[in-house]
C-alpha cells in the first residue's frame, strides 16, 4: 500500500493522485489502512515549503497510523529540500538565496564562533555562588572558605594541580569548574583567549558522549487529542516514534584555525589538560592478563589464524603466555612528555617479533598517550614547540611503552609503512588503543591521500580523534564539501562518517540547501 500525501493529496499506488481536502485525508487514510490489516504501510508525505504547516499535517497523519498500529514503519519523502523540514531554516532556502555565493568559505564564516557560545555559558556559572552562601549559613561556620578567595587566587591554585586533581577540583561545583576550565597544567606560557576557547571547545567535544542524530528531526504535536512525538531521519527517510536511541558521539572533530593562530600550542594544551587519562576499552572486550584487551572479533580472528598456522597445537600453556607478556611490561614508566624517535628506519621493529602462538601479543594496550601524526616536514616544528613549552624530553620507543607515554609523534610516511605491517598483523602502532589521535595538516587525508594511508588512519584505535588543519578543503574557488568526507570518516562521526550513502543524502545533496548542522558542531572558526 502506498499513500502519497502531497499538497494535501492522498493516493495509493493503484490510484491516480487525487486532490483532497485536509478533512478528508483522515477518513481516507483510515479507510485505506482499515482495509489492509497487518499489511506494511508505506507512507509518503510530500511536503511543500511554501506552507510551513506540513509538520502539523504529518503529525496528523501519523497519529492516525500510530493509533492503528502502524507505528514505526513509514517513509517520508520530503520534496527534495532538506531545509524545508524544519520551518525555522527555510531562510537558507536556495530558492530565496540562489544568487548568493554558495561556497564553503561563506559557510564557514557563518558558523558561530565558540568564543561567543562559551561566554554565554560562563555567565551562568557565577550565579551559583548564591548557593555557596546558603551552604555556608547552613553549616554555621565562620571564617573564610575556599570559595571566598579571590578568583585570581583560585585560578592560581588550580595551576598547581596535576590534571587528575584538577578534574576533581573542577568536579566539586560549577564555580570552580568555570575557574579551572582555562587552566592548563604544566604549560609554561599563557594561552591567548582564542586558544583557551579552542581548548575548552575541544574538551567539550571530547566529553560529549551522546548526541542526537542531526539527521533526525523531531516533531511533536497534538492531533485529535493525542500527543505524538516522532523523529524522522532525513537521510534514510526512515521515521520512528520517540523515544529513540541517541548515538554515541564521535569524540573529536575538525580543528581548523587559520595558520599562525597556534594550533600546535592549543592541541598540546589539550594533551596536557588530560594527561594521565586512559583510553577505555570497548565494552565487548576481554581484558587479558597483562592489562591489554581484545575485542571479541579480534580474538576470533587471531584464534582462527592460529588454527591455520599451527594446526593441532591449539592450546598454549597459560603459564608460558603469562611469562612472555610480563616481560614486556617490566619496563620503566615514563612520566611527562616522552618523544620516541619514531621516524626514519628505527622504530618498533626492534621489538621481539610476536610469536604466533601467543594471544597476549595480539592484545591491544589501553593508553594515556596521544598519537600525533604530522607531515615529516613538521616533526621538527612539533619538537621545538614542545621543548619551548614543556619541560622534559626523552626518546624511547618500545611497544608497551608507547601506551605509557603522554605524546607520541609520528609521520604520515611512517603510517604508510605501518600499512605493510598491518597486513602481516605486525604493526605496533595498531596495538595501542590511543587516548587521542591528532592528525596535523589532516586535509591530506581529504583529497590526495593515498588509500593505504587512509586505511591505517581509520584502523588506528582511539577514544578521541582530531583532525587539525588550517585548510580543511583545498583553497580553490570551487572547493567542494566532498573533501570533508574522508575526514569525517577518520574521526568516526557516527552519522556522516559511517557510510558514503548517508553522507550523500545528508550533506552532499542538501549542501545546496545550506543546512550543514554537523559541520556547525565540527568546525572551529575564530
Amino acid at each position: 500500500m502506498l499513500i502519497w500525501l502531497g499538497d494535501v493529496a492522498v493516493s495509493t499506488d493503484h490510484e491516480a493522485i487525487s486532490r483532497l481536502k485536509r478533512g478528508r485525508v483522515s477518513s481516507e487514510v483510515s479507510k485505506l489502512i482499515d482495509g489492509r490489516d497487518g499489511e506494511r504501510a508505506e507512507l509518503f508525505v510530500n511536503v511543500s515549503h511554501d506552507s510551513c504547516e506540513h509538520s502539523a499535517r504529518e503529525v496528523f497523519v501519523l497519529s492516525h497510523l500510530a493509533r492503528l498500529g502502524f507505528s514505526s514503519d513509514f517513509h517520508v519523502g520530503v520534496c527534495g529540500f532538506y531545509g524545508c523540514v524544519d520551518c525555522k531554516e527555510t531562510k537558507g532556502h536556495p530558492k530565496q538565496s540562489k544568487n548568493s555565493p554558495f561556497n564553503l568559505s561563506t559557510l564557514f564564516k557563518s558558523l558561530p564562533s565558540p568564543l561567543e557560545v562559551l561566554a554565554a555559558q560562563r555567565s551562568v556559572n557565577y550565579q551559583n555562588l548564591a548557593l555557596h552562601e546558603a551552604a555556608k549559613l547552613k553549616n554555621g561556620m565562620k571564617g573564610p572558605f575556599l570559595l571566598d578567595l579571590p578568583e585570581s587566587t583560585l585560578r592560581q591554585i588550580s595551576r598547581f594541580l596535576d590534571p587528575r586533581s584538577l578534574r576533581a577540583f573542577a568536579g566539586t561545583c560549577r564555580y570552580l569548574e568555570s575557574i579551572s576550565e582555562t587552566t592548563i597544567p604544566y604549560l609554561k606560557l599563557k594561552l591567548y583567549p582564542h586558544q583557551v576557547a579552542a581548548v575548552e571547545w575541544m574538551m567539550q567535544r571530547e566529553e560529549n558522549r551522546e548526541m542526537r542524530n542531526p539527521l533526525l528531526h523531531i516533531f511533536s504535536g497534538t492531533a485529535e487529542g493525542l500527543k505524538i512525538d516522532y523523529a524522522l531521519n532525513m537521510a534514510t527517510k526512515q521515521g520512528s516514534l520517540v523515544p529513540f536511541e541517541d548515538l554515541e558521539d564521535c569524540r573529536g572533530g575538525l580543528f581548523c584555525d587559520e595558520p599562525g593562530l597556534g594550533k600546535t600550542i592549543t592541541s598540546l594544551a589539550l594533551v596536557l589538560r588530560t594527561s594521565g587519562l586512559r583510553s577505555s576499552p570497548p565494552q565487548s572486550s576481554r581484558i587479558l592478563d597483562d592489562g591489554t584487551y581484545m575485542t571479541m572479533e579480534d580474538i576470533d580472528r587471531v584464534e582462527s589464524q592460529r588454527f591455520e598456522a599451527i594446526g593441532v597445537h591449539r592450546s598454549t600453556p597459560r603459564s608460558r603466555r603469562r611469562a612472555s607478556t610480563d616481560d614486556e611490561l617490566v619496563t620503566p614508566k615514563k612520566r611527562r612528555v616522552s618523544r620516541p624517535d619514531f621516524y626514519g628506519g628505527r622504530g618498533p621493529s626492534t621489538l621481539p617479533s610476536p610469536t604466533n602462538t601467543n594471544l597476549g601479543n595480539h592484545g591491544v594496550y589501553t593508553s594515556k598517550a596521544t598519537l600525533v601524526v604530522v607531515p615529516s616536514t613538521l616533526v621538527d616544528h612539533w619538537r621545538n614547540q614542545m621543548a619551548l613549552l614543556i619541560s622534559g624530553n626523552t626518546a624511547k620507543y618500545p611497544a608497551s611503552l608507547l601506551a605509557e607515554m603522554d605524546l607520541v609523534v609520528t609521520t604520515f610516511n611512517r603510517l604508510s609503512i605501518e600499512y605493510q605491517k598491518m597486513r602481516t598483523g605486525d604493526s605496533q602502532l595498531l596495538r595501542v588503543h590511543w587516548l587521542r589521535i591528532i592528525l596535523d595538516e589532516g586535509h591530506k587525508l581529504g583529497s590526495i591521500g593515498p588509500t593505504d594511508l587512509k586505511t591505517v588512519c581509520n584502523s588506528l584505535r582511539a577514544d578521541r580523534r582530531w583532525v587539525m588543519t588550517g585548510t580543511p578543503t583545498p583553497s580553490t574557488p570551487n572547493s567542494d564539501v566532498r573533501h570533508l568526507f574522508p575526514l569525517l570518516t577518520f574521526i568516526k562521526d557516527p552519522v556522516y562518517g559511517s557510510s558514503s550513502k548517508v553522507w550523500d543524502a545528508g550533506i552532499q545533496r542538501p549542501y545546496e540547501a545550506y543546512i550543514v548542522s554537523n559541520l556547525r558542531s565540527s568546525a572551529n572558526l575564530l
Binding site: T153, R159, R167, T172
Partner: protein
C-alpha cells in the same frame, strides 16, 4: 632620605598598628606602589580588610624572607621555614591568601596556593567538598557523566603513592 631608615606603619582592620621596615613592607607590591608617591619618613598605610592576626602572620612572612635574602639563607632552610609557616588551619590559610592577594605579595600567594593545591591533590570530588565545605551544584546527569570519565589508570597512582 635613605630607604633604609624608613618605617611604614601598617594599620589593620581592627586599628592595630604594625611598624615595619621599608624593605619588608615593600615586598607587597601594593604598598610599594603607595609609597612611591610619598616621601615622608614615616608613612601610615591603612589595610582596611585584613585583621591584626592575619596581618601579623603576613608581616612575619615578609620579615623572614627579607632577612633570608639579606643573609643568603640556604634554599632548604627557607623551604623548611615555609612549610612550618603554612602549618595553620584552613581559616587562617585562606585569610592569608586573601591578604596576600590584596597586598599583592607574589611569593606568599604562590606558597599559599601551592599549599591548597597540595591539600587537593589525589583527593576525590567528595573529599574536596567536605574539606572546603563546598556544596555540589551539578545536576544528576552531569555528576554521572563526570564519574564515567574517570579512567586515570588508578593502579599507577597507587604505585606512586606507595613509592612515596
Amino acid at each position: 632620605m635613605t630607604e633604609k631608615g624608613r618605617i611604614v606603619k601598617m594599620v589593620s582592620q581592627d586599628q592595630e598598628e604594625f611598624e615595619v621596615e621599608y624593605g619588608v613592607a615593600t615586598m607587597s607590591t601594593l604598598i610599594a606602589n603607595v609609597l612611591q608617591d610619598v616621601s615622608e619618613e614615616t608613612t601610615t598605610v591603612p589595610i582596611p580588610n585584613v585583621n591584626a592576626q592575619v596581618l601579623a602572620k603576613v608581616i612575619e612572612y615578609c620579615r623572614y624572607h627579607y632577612e633570608a635574602k639579606r643573609i643568603d639563607q640556604s634554599e632548604e632552610d627557607i623551604e623548611r621555614w615555609n612549610k612550618d609557616f603554612m602549618k595553620v588551619d584552613n581559616k587562617t590559610l585562606f585569610n592569608i591568601l586573601i591578604a596576600a592577594s590584596f597586598l599583592d605579595i607574589a611569593d606568599l600567594l604562590d606558597l599559599g596556593c601551592k599549599t591548597v593545591a597540595g591539600m587537593i591533590k589525589d583527593k576525590s570530588v567528595e573529599q574536596i567538598r567536605e574539606l572546603f565545605c563546598i556544596e555540589g551544584d551539578f545536576t544528576e546527569e552531569q555528576e554521572a557523566k563526570m564519574r564515567e570519565e574517570n579512567n586515570w589508570g588508578s593502579e599507577m597512582s597507587q604505585e606512586n603513592n606507595a613509592a612515596q
